[in-house]
Symmetry: C2
Subunit: 249 residues, 2 copies
């Protein structure tokens, strides 16, 4: 059983206002919780089913936080998932300061990515391609939204995120900005520099006009059929894959 | 106003059982409805806001189906979207027969892709890369699920889909199956044949064991960081992008 007050508290954390007030967020599901316990995030409480605990006891570190063993039905009730037969954690937020970039490093910059599923997918893509830092416009989805965490499949533990006013932030960096556009240099032929920031625009509006003058290269993913555009997470992955053909980590 | 019975009817079409009974499905949102009216799908009814109708009257063909002008609030009430300020259509299903492949053609095969958002994204990716046919296992998401249509961003009108028992269907085709695996030939170096079927496995379990012996080449997307896997839509796009570097449409 999870007490009425705890149910109410956990459910409140689905909303940004309450996450910010309490300075904690939710991590749900087996994969994400198993990545969480390996990371340096500070866990306040774990809620686990008996089956999950038995199967994964050796992976869960000795801790000074409470581990609550609960029924699957009770876990599902407080979860944003349709069913949760594994785990949920309440975790302390980590506030990133301004991130800096080395002379041979790549980062991703997100201009107003609104959909939490897209942000989570982009975290997973960045992590796959060895990109460890993401700069988000302040209008982008909240990194602690449960849908971001879910879609990241554990990558939220490895990729650092900083929210910035991009128009002020980008000019201060001395590495080139490569923008994803529907026209521009063919990404199959583009010679990627040894460092760069891959800039991805909003799901419908693309990269906002004021940022265009900060873009050193407009990159285009060649199109062979009828679709007008690609999903933001997909476009990020295709550009990263082209990058990693020549510039490896 | 939308009558009570019509509200009930439209809402019932969110569920597969009722779609199959009525042989119709829903298309929602500006982009999807504008692609729909250009296609050869048979529309039974359109529900549009006045603003959408005024802006797009020239794009909507003369028709023998009813066009209902409704308030945004009423449209949102029957829509699966959080808000729908544009359009919704009731459309007749198209049942694809078995699809055949030319000697110089590529197709995508989906083994148990369960998430409708993933299927919709894969339709959009296929359409971008000029792949016009998708074979789905019978356990895959329903092509007429509103989330598939939404995520496809109009590509559902251009990409043909057939549901098949893959274990029976694949051996009858004479073009090589290229499977997406977490190990195998590096897709950056792989020499794509002039025709092929790109096989994508289930979101958690990958390609099912019995299909493995039908795979001519196991393809691997090189990994540079900590993520264990890529999302199914993302993996499809990266493989198609590598394919189209050498084998164009």
């Amino acid at each position: 059983m999870i007490s009425k007050n705890t149910v109410k508290f956990i459910k409140s954390l689905q909303i940004k206002k309450y996450r910010q007030k309490e300075n904690v967020f939710l991590v749900e599901g087996a994969k994400n919780v198993l990545e969480l316990v390996k990371s340096d995030f500070k866990i306040n409480q774990l809620f686990l089913t008996e089956t999950f605990l038995e199967e994964n006891r050796h992976l869960i570190p000795d801790s000074n936080f409470p581990i609550n063993v609960v029924k699957e039905g009770d876990l599902t009730k407080v979860s944003t998932f349709k069913t949760n037969n594994a785990a949920l954690a309440i975790v302390e937020m980590r506030h990133e300061e301004s991130l800096s970039f080395d002379k041979d490093e790549y980062g991703i910059v997100l201009d107003d990515i609104r959909d939490p599923g897209n942000l989570g997918t982009i975290l997973r893509v960045a992590d796959w391609y060895g990109i460890r830092k993401i700069i988000c416009s302040e209008t982008s989805a909240d990194r602690y939204n449960p849908k971001v965490i879910a879609a990241s499949m554990g990558s939220f533990t490895r990729v650092r995120i900083s929210y910035q006013i991009l128009g002020n932030y980008l000019p201060g960096l001395s590495i080139p900005v490569l923008g994803a556009y529907l026209e521009g240099e063919n990404v199959h032929q583009f010679k990627f520099p040894k460092s760069g920031l891959i800039l991805i625009g909003n799901e419908s509006a693309g990269i906002s006009q004021p940022l265009e003058k900060m873009v050193a290269h407009k990159l285009n993913i060649p199109r062979f059929g009828g679709a007008e555009s690609l999903n933001a997470g997909v476009a990020t992955a295709v550009i990263c894959d082209n990058l990693r053909r020549t510039v490896t980590v």
